[in-house]
Structures are given as structure tokens and as C-alpha cells.
Assembly symmetry: C2
Homo-oligomer: 340 residues x 2
């Protein structure tokens, strides 16, 4: 059997409580002499506190969940862009002596189950639709600190962290207009009333309006985020919309597909058509031509998520408003002036 508090107490000739106080660093309550003696025994015997016992007895589990949507029987879709966030969250949490539980959510009720079953102190929601965040109820969520990444939900139960999606789209479209483009298409996955893609769409639309360019619904295409879908879309643009000279896309992978589809149809990038991506994934710099794209501050996003969570766990008040991180345009080789 593993060594317990009791074993240490017996060996040190003190009570359980004293050992507990020492192990938990409540210095004021134990004399330096006994503390040192106990610490030595703890080390010698290789005592490791039982987190489940601690979690059961105390009100805190020091456990934070990372909840990610997982459709039905499929595995989690952790896109490269969020992996980095996962790694950073783990590191920050570890530094503060918390543990991270990774959990795929295939049904709505599982969020509550996950929170309750392990008495999670907090949870980070990654990649959920705003509607799902909206649905969270206080009676089911309890006092758990919730951080929703990339969410525009108005639910006061969650702290929102996202980057400036509206502004990112503005940067991209202004850049294209500055280059001389007037017929600019928008390509991204389906979106609803709120959310990341909706924001980028509204940013796109606003800049068009600002520049006196009429909005054409047929220039907005729903394209799921994959290289294949992007390529198909590129071919479609070449065949059906030769008047379009620029495309603003909501993801790098999509943009790369569009570039390849355009090229396959004989149209050059950026000679005939300019393409702007989103995220500044590593891959954006490795393809030919290198992708012009909007960069998010991923480390900042992760750090902010952890900071908000820790403040909340420490009992601080909920901040006034959601945290929004800055974006910037990375100019590379897929955006240039329109032809002739």
C-alpha cells in the first residue's frame, strides 16, 4: 500500500492534523522543529497526498476540465490552432498545482456530468457554439469557474475570451481594398446570429460599406474548413465567378485549398486572384506562395484564459466584460493588386 498521512504521523509521533498542516504549508500552525522533522519523513517515505481523499474532504479538487465538443463517436477535433492553447493551459495550471482533465463532450448533459462527477473547480470550454454556452444554467453548473474560449455568448456564467474577429476581418478586407480590389468574396463555414465566423463576416461587410462597395450575397460562400472543400471552392470561383479578384477566408487551411483550386483551374495567385487566410498557422509560411493571413495572439489567449480562471477560483469578481485580444495582418505573397 501507498504511504498515508497516518503512517507519517505515526512515524513522527504527532497527530494527523499536524502532518496535514505541514504538508499543506500552513506554517503558522506548527513549530519549525517539528515541521522539519515531518518534512524529512515525508521525503524519505515518498509520501504523495491522495488527491481524491483531499478532494472529498475539502471543498476544492484543484482540478480543471478542458471540455471539447466531440461529435457522436468521433474523436475530439483539436485543430492545430487550439493545440497550442491546450499545451499552454496545462503548463499554467501545473505551475499553480492544478491538474487538467481532458474531456470530449458528445451530448449536452455531459458538461454538467463532467463538472460534478470530479467536482471540478473550473472548466475551459473550447470550440463550443455560442448557443451551447447560452444554454448553461446556474443550477446545473454550480459555482464552477467557467471560461469559454472564442465565445460571444452573453451568458454571465461563463467568462469569455476571444480575439478581435471583427477587427481581423476589417484588417484583411481593408488590405485588399487598399490594393485596389472591389469584388471581394467571403468564404467560411456556416454561421448563425453570433460567433467567431459571424463577427468576421460582419467585419467584412462593414469595410465593404465603408468603401462604397455594394454587398453581394452571392459572393458569400459556405465552405467547411478543409483543404478539399477549399480547393473545390477555388475551382468553382474560377469557373463561375471570374469577376472576383480577391477572397477573404476564415481559416488558413481553407485559404490554402482555395489557392490550390484556383491554380488547378489555371488562375494564378496573386496575379489573377488574391487570397487572405486566418490564424497564421505554421503551415501558412511553408506553402507556395506564402499565405497572407490574420494572426491571432494564441499565447495571449491561453494566458488570459488561465488568468481569468485563477482570479475566479481565488474568489475575485467577474470582470465587467469579455476579454478580447488583438490581431494583426501578416502580409506575405497571396495578396497583390488586381489584374491589369
Amino acid at each position: 500500500m501507498a504511504v498515508t498521512l497516518k503512517d507519517i504521523a505515526a512515524e513522527a509521533g504527532v497527530s494527523l492534523m499536524t502532518v496535514s498542516n505541514v504538508v499543506n504549508g500552513k506554517q503558522a500552525r506548527v513549530s519549525a522543529a517539528t515541521r522539519d522533522r515531518i518534512l524529512r519523513i515525508v521525503k524519505d517515505r515518498g509520501y504523495v497526498p491522495s488527491a481524491s481523499a483531499r478532494s472529498l474532504a475539502a471543498k476544492s479538487s484543484r482540478l480543471v476540465g478542458l471540455l471539447v465538443p466531440a461529435e457522436g463517436e468521433t474523436s475530439l477535433t483539436i485543430d492545430p490552432h487550439t493545440v497550442e492553447v491546450v499545451g499552454m493551459l496545462e503548463r499554467e495550471l501545473r505551475r499553480l498545482d492544478y491538474h487538467l482533465m481532458l474531456r470530449g463532450i458528445s451530448h449536452r448533459t455531459e458538461i454538467t456530468e463532467a463538472l460534478r462527477s470530479w467536482h471540478l473547480d473550473g472548466a475551459v470550454l473550447l470550440g463550443f457554439q455560442d448557443a451551447e454556452i447560452d444554454r448553461l444554467k446556474a443550477d446545473t453548473v454550480g459555482g464552477v469557474a467557467l471560461v469559454a474560449m472564442d465565445s460571444y455568448s452573453a451568458n454571465p456564467l461563463a467568462l469569455e475570451v476571444r480575439s478581435d474577429d471583427f477587427g481581423g476581418a476589417e484588417l484583411a478586407v481593408r488590405h485588399l481594398i487598399g490594393l485596389g480590389h472591389r469584388r471581394i468574396a467571403f468564404a467560411g463555414p456556416g454561421f448563425s446570429e453570433t460567433g467567431v465566423v459571424r463577427e468576421r463576416f460582419e467585419g467584412y461587410r462593414k469595410v465593404l460599406a465603408e468603401n462604397g462597395i455594394g454587398f453581394e450575397p452571392e459572393l458569400v460562400s459556405r465552405v467547411e474548413i478543409s483543404h478539399a472543400e477549399g480547393a473545390a471552392h477555388g475551382r468553382w470561383l474560377a469557373a463561375e465567378r471570374p469577376d472576383v479578384t480577391a477572397v477573404f477566408t476564415t481559416a488558413d487551411l481553407l485559404a490554402i485549398g482555395v489557392v490550390d483550386g484556383l491554380a488547378a483551374a489555371g488562375r494564378s495567385v496573386p496575379g489573377d486572384v488574391s487570397v487572405v487566410g486566418y490564424d497564421n498557422a505554421d503551415i501558412a509560411a511553408y506553402v507556395t506562395p506564402k499565405l497572407t493571413t490574420v494572426a491571432q495572439d494564441l499565447p495571449g489567449k491561453a494566458a488570459e484564459a488561465v488568468r481569468l480562471m485563477m482570479d475566479r477560483l481565488a474568489g475575485k469578481d467577474r470582470p465587467e466584460q469579455a476579454t478580447t485580444l488583438g490581431v494583426r495582418l501578416i502580409e506575405r505573397d497571396t495578396a497583390g493588386p488586381p489584374p491589369q
Copy 2:
């Protein structure tokens, strides 16, 4: 407060034990009538068992750790190639009603701590050096089911799962030789007596020998896995070793860097130099020219890891030998005949 077993028992007018039996599906021990009644109350009240209480009382935590090296204060390095494995592990484990704890290991002792503190039933070790797996001792690891991914350690405490790295190198180098190459370089991160890179190196060397090609130590370069290091190496090859007509690389990212470095130095791929990567990452198909590479069976690897772990948790004997998954060569556009 959350609803407990006791609440359910009180409401149903039965003992704690009976509710426990029902919740845990020990059907034989309870009449159908009371079972249905209890189940209804459980559902109505939204009862969720306390995992920490269960873990403390039972011998099993139904918790599996995913342990990943994390150098010092840096965050986990989960390369794209292993992310997929993480997602698949989570899904399989979830299906079997286990939970996944993600934990970065920055110091050796943390492995033991992680196992003990949460009473993990099992752990998957991802990305550790063989030497670290070798060091695991029975007294510190206890009866925990351990699966080491991509490990060639001989430690009987861990179950090894990897793909055929030796064979993958053979495929790549045979392909190059078949194309007519004789001066073939090897580029990969530093390696020791055993391990993934060592296997690939030995595969490379064996095929050279089989074909009567003398082994030249100067053709083996230590290059860390990054695009920048790969590019620097490509430039170096162009400048210092113009006699080399082909490079076998241990990672796609590296290969892509080499291709770009070579191109920057005015050498064309595959016209002047052929390059073969490893892993068949998504990116391999998006770059220009598309990368010829060795594909691993990632889903197979993840499934096998979970299967081994579950067999072990179910008390089955340790398999005779490590599991090795097949690899295959993906021919694309970076390998062709040598010049003239």
C-alpha cells in the same frame, strides 16, 4: 449541495447499498421493481456519482493519465502527429467510461507523483526517451498499467507501441536507390543507442549496405525538427555537399525545410536533389512540390495503445512482445531520378 447516494436512498426508502448496486449496474442483486424506481429518482434528481469518493472507496479510479514531457517552464510540445493520438485516446477511454488526465512532466519524479496522487489506473507515456522509460521502477509505479508510445525500451513494466521505424527507413531508402541514387544523406535529431530515430538510422544504413553503398558518417547530420533548421541544412547541403543527390529525413517538417533551403540555394527538388520525409502529416500534401514521405498508421497506434491498456486493466497478461504497426511509402513529388 449536490445530490448524493444518501439522498436517493432516503427518497426511495432503501439502503445506500441498494442504490449503489443499481447505479453500478449490478443487476443480479436488486429486483427489477426497485431498480426501476431507483433509476427514475436518480434521473429526476440529476444524481451524478462522486468520482473522488468512488475512487477513494474502491480500488479503481477509472482515470488514465496522458503523460507528456514538458521541459522546465515550457509548455507541452504536442506535435501535430501526436495530437491525433490524444484525440483518439480520449474517445476510446470515454467510450469505456474512463477519464483522461493530461499532465506535463518536467521532472522525473513527477511521473510517480502523477500516478499516485490521483490513483491512476493507467497511463500512456507519449514522447519520452527510452532511457526515461527504462528508469521506471516497480516499487514506484505499483500496479499501474503503463503504455509507452514510440518506445523501444526493454522495461517490462511498460507495454510498448510503436510503428515500424526500421522498416519505414528501409522503404524510403530503397525507393531512392531504386530511382538511381547512390549518395544519400540522413538528417534527423540527435539519437542514442535505442529509440525511434536510431531505428530509422539503422534501417537507412542497412539498405545502403545491402546495395553495396559505403556508409559515410559525414552524410549523417543532426538536425532538430523545425522548418528553420531544415532550411539551414538544405542550404548547407547545397553549398558543401553538391555530390549528394538525395536526403532521407526523419520528419516532414524537417523535409519541407530542407526542400526550401535547397531551393533558396538554387537547387531544384527533385531535379537536383530528392527529399523524403516521415509521418505523412497533412502539410506534406499542401506544399509545393508535394512531399514524398513515409506514412504511419496513427489511428492504429492509438487504438492499439488503448486496447493494450484496457486488456491490462482487465487483468490480462502482458503480451509477449511489443506491438509494432506497419508503415507505407507515399510517393509524391519530391523524389525522382538523380540528375543527368
